[in-house]
C-alpha cells in the first residue's frame, strides 16, 4: 500500500530513533592475532570486519612503488550471506570496486603515509551483515583496525551517512530509509580538525539544503568519533592490564 513513513509527525523514525540519533555502535579491536591490526564493528544491524596488514615492502607489481610515501591498498567485499537474498559475487563487482576506491581515498587522507616510503599498507574490509550505511561502517571499522596496527594517523576517520526527509536531516540511515527514496550523503571526517576526508553523494538535492545536511553529517561523525575513542581507550586499558601481568 502506501510507502513507508520515514519520519512521523511526532519526530520518530521507522525504527524509533529521532532524527539526529545514531544507531547503537559496538566495536572490538584486535580480533585476529595473525594480522597486524583488526577490528570488528557493529552499527545497528550493519556489521563489518576490518583487517590491516603492513606497513610492509611492496608485493606484487613493484612498479606501483612510491618513493616518498606508502601505498594504501584497500579491498572491500560483502559476505554472500550479508543481505536478505544471497549475494552471488562477494567482491570485484562494480559497486565493490567503487567502494574500495573510496576507502583508499579516505585513508590516503588520514594515514601518515610519508613515514613509510616504498612500502605498502593493506586494508581489507568485509561486510558481514548489511543494513544501510555500508561505507561509513567500513571506514569506522578500518580506522579501529589501523589504530590497532599501530599505524600513525592524523586523526580518527569517522564516517556517517545522512539523508534528507521533510526538510529534516536524518543521521545514520538504515537500509529501509536508504531504499525509501531518500537523497543520502556519505561523509568521512577528521573530527578534531573538522577536515573532510571524503564526501560522496549521488542523489539529487537542492543546493540550499546541502549545508544543513553537511552540518548534520559532521555532528553525526563527531558522535561516532566519541564512541570510537571510547572503544580505543577501553581496548588499551584491557591490553595494558594484560601486559602488566
Amino acid at each position: 500500500m502506501a510507502g513507508l513513513e520515514l519520519l512521523s509527525d511526532q519526530g520518530y523514525r521507522l525504527d524509533g530513533r529521532k532524527a539526529t540519533e545514531l544507531r547503537k555502535v559496538q566495536a572490538r579491536m584486535g580480533v585476529f592475532a595473525q594480522a597486524d591490526g583488526s577490528a570488528y564493528l557493529e552499527q545497528g544491524n550493519t556489521k563489518a570486519l576490518a583487517v590491516v596488514y603492513g606497513p610492509h615492502e611492496m608485493r606484487g607489481s613493484r612498479s606501483r612503488t612510491l618513493h616518498d610515501r606508502a601505498v594504501i591498498n584497500c579491498q572491500y567485499s560483502m559476505a554472500t550471506f550479508s543481505t536478505a537474498e544471497r549475494k552471488r559475487r562477494p567482491h570485484g563487482d562494480r559497486k565493490s570496486t567503487e567502494m574500495s576506491l573510496h576507502l583508499k581515498q579516505t585513508f590516503e587522507a588520514a594515514v601518515m603515509t610519508q613515514l613509510y616510503p616504498r612500502s605498502q599498507i593493506d586494508i581489507y574490509v568485509k561486510i558481514l551483515q548489511s543494513d544501510g550505511g555500508n561505507y561509513s561502517v567500513c571506514v569506522n571499522a578500518a580506522t579501529l583496525a589501523v589504530i590497532d596496527a599501530g599505524i600513525p594517523m592524523r586523526d580518527y576517520v569517522c564516517a556517517c551517512t545522512v539523508g534528507f526527509v521533510d526538510e529534516t536531516p536524518l543521521a545514520d540511515l538504515c537500509y529501509a530509509e536508504e531504499s525509501g527514496g531518500v537523497s543520502s550523503l556519505a561523509l568521512a571526517l577528521l573530527p578534531r580538525g573538522g577536515q573532510i576526508a571524503l564526501l560522496q553523494m549521488d542523489a539529487r538535492l537542492h543546493q540550499d539544503h546541502l549545508e544543513t545536511l553537511i552540518d548534520a553529517a559532521m555532528t553525526a561523525c563527531k558522535g561516532v568519533s566519541k564512541v570510537l575513542d571510547e572503544v580505543v581507550r577501553q581496548h588499551l586499558q584491557e591490553v595494558s592490564v594484560l601486559t602488566r601481568e
Binding site: A2, S8, D15, R23, G44, N45, A84, G181
Partner: protein, 939 residues
C-alpha cells in the same frame, strides 16, 4: 535511553523475503497529559478538564479509539464535542494502510489545537511495545497492543494522580471480542454506539461502505442466457454527466434496437465505456427514469468513501412519471473488453510516500484508474497515458499501469497529441512496409501509362483551392466545342493508380479512412509523397487523373457524360480569391479566365436548379485562425468567408459525384459504395419550429423543398442575422450522412442535396471512400481489373462502418482542435466582452452564440456554491425566466468571455452575462476580472 531490540518480519515481494529491522524502544515518550507530573514533557496536549458531559462516563476521561472506530466513525471524531482523544501509533499506522482519505482526516484533526488529540507512539515505548506471539494474527496483535497501551495509560494516570482528578481512560471499540478481553483486563471499554448515544440524540452507524461488485458470469452462461433471451448483448455507453449512470445499446433486427438504462455502481458492475456487455433487465417495477443530475466522481484515493455513497442514495429515489421510465437493467457479464490506453492526468495521493495514485482520464466516461508508480511527483501536471489491467470485484476503481508521458498539460503539442489519441485518430508515422509501396523517385509517366490513358495535356485545366492547400485533388476545365456546346471536365487525382488493392499502403489508408485537418496541422491518410506531390494536381506538371467529362448546352443540361483515365497538365493552381479576381477582372481574357467564367456561369445555373429541387442551404459558422508563424499560437480568429468560386467548385464536384454514383450503381447494383443522408424524423424539427414561431415565422418541414423554401422566406427586417441563426438551428436538426454499400440498404436518398443517389468521388487523396469509388468506376469503364474484396458486399459494408467511424472521429477531433485553439486565443487575450445571440434555452442555462468568433458557450444560472436565482423554465417557448427577466431563443445578449483554467485537464471558455442586467446574476461590464463565480458549474 536507547534500548535496542531486533525483530524479524516476513514480507512478500514476489517471493518470501526475510526483512530484519531494528526496533528501538524508548523511555522518553511522554503521555501528553496536563495532569501528569512524572513525564518530562515540554508541552501537553491532553487537558486536565475533559468536559464531555455524558451520563455513561460522568468522570473526566480520555478516549482511545481502536482502528475500526477511527476508520468508520471518523465523522464522530470530527465532531467538536469529542476532544481529548489519544490516537495510538498502532491505530494510525493501520488507518494509513487501509484508507488514505480517513488517514488524511485524522491527521487534520490531530493538527487542530482545539481538538486536543494526542498521538502516542506506543510502538516505540518501552512499556507498551509487544511482540507478536506465535499463532497470533497481525490484527489480534494490534488489538492487544491497543489494550496494552490503554492499560498503561490507566496505570500511568493512576500513579501520577497527584491532582486526584480521577482521570480515566476509555477504550472505544466495536469489536465484541476485543471489548470482552479489554473488560477482563479491567479496562473501561465501550462500544462507540453506547458511548455516543449518551450525548447525541440520534446516531446512525455508518456501516462499512466498501464496494463489492457482483461476480461476472462465465462466458458459457452468458451465451446461453443471450440465446434464451434472458440476457441482452450490447455496447456499454457510460454517461458523460453522471458516473453512476450508463446505457447499453442493444442492436435489434432492423429498426427495433433498444437502449437499456443502468444505474448505480453495482448495476454498472465494472463495465467500462465501449465494452460489449451482457445485461439482464430488472423487473418492470424497478425501472427508473434517467436522472438529470450532473454527478462527477470526486471520490478519494481509496475504496471507502461515505460521501460518495450518500450521493448515490440521493440519486436513486428519483420518482419520475411512468412515461419517463426506461427499461432498466444490470450488467451480468462482460463479453468483450474494449480497453485502450487512456489519456489523462494523475491525481497525486495525499500521502506523499504512497505509490498508489488515481488517474483521471480526459474522457469523463472512463472511470478513474488506480495505478502504482514511484514517480508521481514528476508525473503530476503532465498528460499521461494509462492502460487498464483489470478490475477486481472488491475494488472501487480499475487497476492500471502507466504507459507513457505525453508532456506537460496545456502545452500545444501535448494537447494535440491527446486530442488525436482520444479521438482514435491513427497518427503515427507511416511504417517502412507502407512506404515500400510508394513509387520510386524520380517518378515519370511511362509510355505504358500513356497508352492506356487519354492525353488531355493540351486542355486548359486549372485548380481552385483554399490558400495554402498542398493536396490538390481536383481540377476543372471548360471549353466551347465546335458544335456550340460546352465541354466541362472534372479531373480528379488518380490515387488508385498508386495505391494498389491489398498491399500495406492500401490497408493503412483503409484503416485511416480520412485525412484529418486540425488547426495548423494535417494528419495524412496517404504518405506525403503521394498527397502533396505525385497525386496532387499541381500546376505545370504532368499528372495522372481520373476525368469525368460532360458535354453540356448553355442551359447546363447534360447531353453526354463519359469517364476516362487521363493525363493532364494543370495550367494554374488558384485560390478561391484569385479565381474570383480573374472572373471579375474584365480586362483579363486568357484561356484560364475564360474557362473559369464558363464554369461559373454553368455553376450558377446548376445551383439554381438544385435549390429548386429542394436542396438545403444550411449554415454553420466555421472559424479560421491566423497562426503566428513563429510560435504557432493563434493570434486572430475570423469566420470563414464564402465566395462565388467556392460554390462554383462545389457545384461541379457535386455533379461529378452524382454522375459517378449513377454510373457505378448501374454497373454494380450490389456493391456500389454510396453515401446517403437520411431525412430526419419530424420530432427533430420541434426546436426549430418553436424558435421560429417566437418571431412569428412559420417553418414547414414536410419535405426538404418546403424546408428550404420556408428558410428562404424567413426573414425579420429588424434582425438581419435571424436567417443565419435559423439555418444554424436547422443544421442541428439534421442527421449524419453515412457511407453504405448499395447491396445492404434500399434507401439511397441524400436529403440535404436533394439527390436520389450520391457518392464521394472527388477527394481520393483525403478520403478512402473515394479510392474505392475510383476502383469501382475504373472497373466499370474497363480501365482497371477488379479484385474479390471489391465485389463482396459484406466486406464493403464493414469498410463503410470503419469509414463512418473515422469520419465522425475526425470531425470531433477537428472541433476539439478548434476549441483548443479558441482557448489558446483567449488565454492571450484575457477577458473580452462580446455580443451574442441565445441559441438554445436549457433548464438552468442559456447557450449563447458569438457570431464574431463563430463560437458558442453556456451561461449557467446556478452553481454549486451559490444559491440559485429563481428559475422558471417553460418548455413550450422554450423560455427561461431568471428572476424577472425572460430569455427567448434569439435574444441578443452581452457576455464576458474568459478562459477558465481552474481545472487544468478541462480548460474551458467561460461566459457570464453582462446585459441584460439581472441583479445577482449578471456581472458588471467593466468587471474584467475572470473572477465571476457564475459559470463555475462543470459541464
Amino acid at each position: 535511553m536507547l534500548k535496542s531490540k531486533t525483530f524479524v518480519k516476513k514480507t512478500r515481494s514476489g517471493g518470501v523475503l526475510k526483512i530484519v529491522r531494528e526496533h528501538y524502544l524508548r523511555d522518553d515518550i511522554w503521555c501528553g497529559s496536563e495532569v501528569c507530573t512524572e513525564c518530562k514533557q515540554e508541552s501537553t496536549v491532553l487537558q486536565r478538564d475533559t468536559c464531555i458531559e455524558s451520563n455513561l462516563c460522568a468522570y473526566p476521561h480520555y478516549l482511545i479509539p481502536d482502528t475500526n472506530v477511527v476508520l468508520h466513525q471518523i465523522d464522530v471524531l470530527e465532531d467538536p464535542v469529542i476532544r481529548n482523544v489519544i490516537i495510538l501509533q498502532t491505530v494510525l499506522q493501520e488507518v494509513r494502510h487501509r484508507s488514505a482519505p480517513v488517514y488524511k482526516r485524522i491527521k487534520d484533526i490531530i493538527h487542530e489545537k482545539e481538538k486536543h488529540f494526542y498521538t502516542f507512539t506506543n510502538e516505540h515505548h518501552r512499556e507498551t511495545f509487544i511482540e507478536r506471539e506465535p499463532g497470533e494474527s497481525a490484527n489480534d496483535r494490534n488489538d492487544r497492543a491497543i489494550r496494552v497501551a490503554a492499560t498503561w495509560y490507566t496505570q500511568h494516570l493512576k500513579t501520577s494522580e497527584s491532582a486526584a482528578d480521577g482521570l480515566k481512560v476509555v477504550l472505544l471499540t466495536n469489536d465484541q471480542g476485543n471489548k470482552q478481553k479489554a473488560a477482563e483486563s479491567g479496562l473501561l471499554v465501550f462500544k462507540c454506539e453506547e458511548y455516543i448515544k449518551n450525548f447525541f440524540h440520534f446516531f446512525n452507524e455508518i456501516t462499512s461502505s466498501k464496494v463489492l461488485f457482483p461476480e461476472h458470469l462465465p462466458l458459457s452462461r452468458i451465451q446461453a442466457g443471450i440465446k434464451s433471451g434472458s440476457f441482452l448483448q450490447g455496447t456499454f455507453r457510460a454517461s458523460r454527466d453522471n458516473y453512476l449512470e450508463a446505457t447499453v445499446f442493444v442492436p435489434g433486427e432492423g429498426e427495433d434496437s433498444t437502449e437499456v438504462l443502468l444505474q448505480g455502481l453495482q448495476n454498472l458492475n465494472r463495465a467500462v465505456h465501449q465494452d460489449v456487455v451482457a445485461v439482464q433487465l430488472l423487473p418492470r417495477d424497478h425501472w427508473v427514469a434517467p436522472s438529470s443530475v450532473v454527478l462527477q466522481d470526486e471520490g478519494m484515493a481509496k475504496d471507502e468513501n461515505p460521501e460518495e455513497e450518500e450521493e448515490e442514495k440521493a440519486v436513486s429515489p428519483v420518482t419520475a412519471s411512468l412515461s419517463a421510465k426506461k427499461p432498466t437493467g444490470k450488467v451480468v457479464g462482460i463479453i468483450k473488453r474494449n480497453w485502450r490506453p487512456f489519456c489523462g492526468m494523475l491525481n497525486v495521493s495525499q500521502i506523499k510516500e504512497s505509490t498508489r495514485h488515481l488517474f483521471t482520464p480526459a474522457d469523463r466516461r472512463i472511470p478513474r484508474i488506480r495505478i502504482e508508480t514511484r514517480q508521481a511527483s514528476t508525473l503530476a501536471g503532465q498528460r499521461i497515458m494509462v492502460a487498464i489491467d483489470g478490475w477486481p470485484k472488491d475494488s472501487r476503481y480499475p487497476n492500471g499501469h502507466f504507459v507513457r508521458s505525453l508532456g506537460g498539460a496545456g502545452e500545444k503539442d501535448t494537447e494535440e497529441e491527446v486530442l488525436l489519441l482520444e479521438h482514435d485518430v491513427p497518427h503515427q508515422a507511416f511504417s517502412q512496409a507502407v512506404l515500400s509501396f510508394l513509387p520510386k523517385m524520380p517518378w515519370a509517366i511511362t509510355p505504358e501509362d500513356m497508352k492506356q490513358r487519354q492525353d488531355l495535356r493540351q486542355l486548359t485545366v486549372c485548380s481552385v483551392d483554399p490558400p495554402g492547400c498542398t493536396d490538390i485533388d481536383d481540377a476543372l476545365h471548360c471549353r466551347e466545342l465546335d458544335n456550340g456546346n460546352l465541354e466541362v471536365g472534372v479531373h480528379i487525382a488518380d490515387v488508385s493508380h498508386f495505391i494498389r488493392p491489398g498491399n500495406a499502403l492500401d490497408k493503412e489508408a483503409a484503416n485511416r479512412g480520412t485525412t484529418v485537418y486540425l488547426c495548423g496541422k494535417r494528419i495524412d491518410m496517404v504518405p506525403e509523397l503521394l498527397s502533396s506531390n505525385l497525386c496532387s494536381l499541381r500546376s505545370n506538371v504532368e499528372r495522372l487523373a481520373f476525368s469525368c467529362i460532360w458535354e453540356m448546352n448553355h442551359e447546363a443540361e447534360i447531353l453526354k457524360t463519359w469517364f476516362t483515365k487521363s493525363i493532364i497538365n494543370s495550367k494554374a493552381s488558384l485560390t478561391y480569391a484569385e479565381a474570383q479576381m480573374r472572373i471579375d477582372d474584365t480586362t483579363m481574357n486568357d484561356d484560364i479566365t475564360k474557362s473559369l467564367r464558363g464554369l461559373n456561369k454553368l455553376a450558377k445555373i446548376l445551383k439554381r436548379r438544385r435549390i429548386e429541387n429542394g436542396a438545403l442551404t444550411l449554415s454553420s459558422l466555421e472559424v479560421r485562425f491566423h497562426i503566428d508563424s513563429e510560435t504557432h499560437d493563434p493570434i486572430d480568429l475570423q469566420t470563414k468567408e464564402l465566395m462565388e468560386t467556392n460554390s462554383m467548385v462545389e457545384e461541379f464536384m457535386l455533379l461529378a459525384n452524382i454522375s459517378v454514383a449513377q454510373k457505378i450503381y448501374d454497373e454494380f447494383s450490389e456493391c456500389a459504395l454510396l453515401r446517403k443522408h437520411p431525412a430526419p424524423p419530424p420530432s427533430n424539427y420541434d426546436i426549430l419550429i418553436k424558435a421560429a414561431k417566437s418571431k412569428n415565422v412559420a417553418i414547414h418541414t414536410d419535405s426538404a423543398k418546403a424546408l428550404a423554401d420556408s428558410l428562404d422566406m424567413a426573414t425579420v427586417d429588424s434582425f438581419p442575422y435571424f436567417n443565419t441563426l435559423l439555418r444554424i438551428l436547422a443544421t442541428r436538426c439534421m442527421m449524419q450522412a453515412v457511407y453504405f454499400c448499395s447491396g445492404m440498404d434500399s434507401d439511397f436518398h441524400h436529403y440535404g442535396l436533394a439527390s436520389p443517389i450520391y457518392t464521394h468521388f472527388t477527394s481520393p487523396i483525403r478520403r478512402y471512400s473515394d479510392i474505392i469509388v475510383h476502383r469501382l468506376l475504373a472497373v466499370a469503364i474497363g480501365a482497371d481489373s477488379t479484385y474479390p474484396d471489391l465485389m463482396d458486399k459484406h466486406k464493403q459494408s464493414a469498410l463503410c462502418n470503419n469509414l463512418n467511424y473515422r469520419h465522425k472521429m475526425a470531425q470531433y477531433a477537428q472541433r476539439a482542435s478548434v476549441a483548443f485553439h479558441t482557448q489558446l486565443f483567449f488565454k492571450t487575450r484575457g477577458v473580452l466582452n462580446e455580443e451574442g445571440f441565445v441559441l438554445f434555452v436549457r433548464k438552468n442555462a442559456i447557450i449563447v452564440l458569438i457570431p464574431k468568433f463563430g463560437m458558442e458557450g453556456t451561461v449557467f444560472f446556478d452553481s454549486k456554491d451559490k444559491t440559485a436565482p429563481n428559475l422558471v423554465f417553460d418548455e413550450e417557448g422554450p423560455t427561461l425566466t431568471v428572476e424577472q427577466h425572460t430569455f427567448h431563443i434569439f435574444d441578443k445578449v452581452k457576455v464576458t468571455i474568459s478562459l477558465d483554467a481552474s481545472n487544468i485537464q478541462h480548460q474551458k471558455i467561460r461566459m457570464a452575462l453582462i446585459d441584460p442586467v439581472i441583479s445577482g446574476v449578471s456581472v458588471p461590464a467593466e468587471d474584467l476580472e475572470p473572477q465571476s463565480k457564475k459559470s463555475k458549474l462543470d459541464r
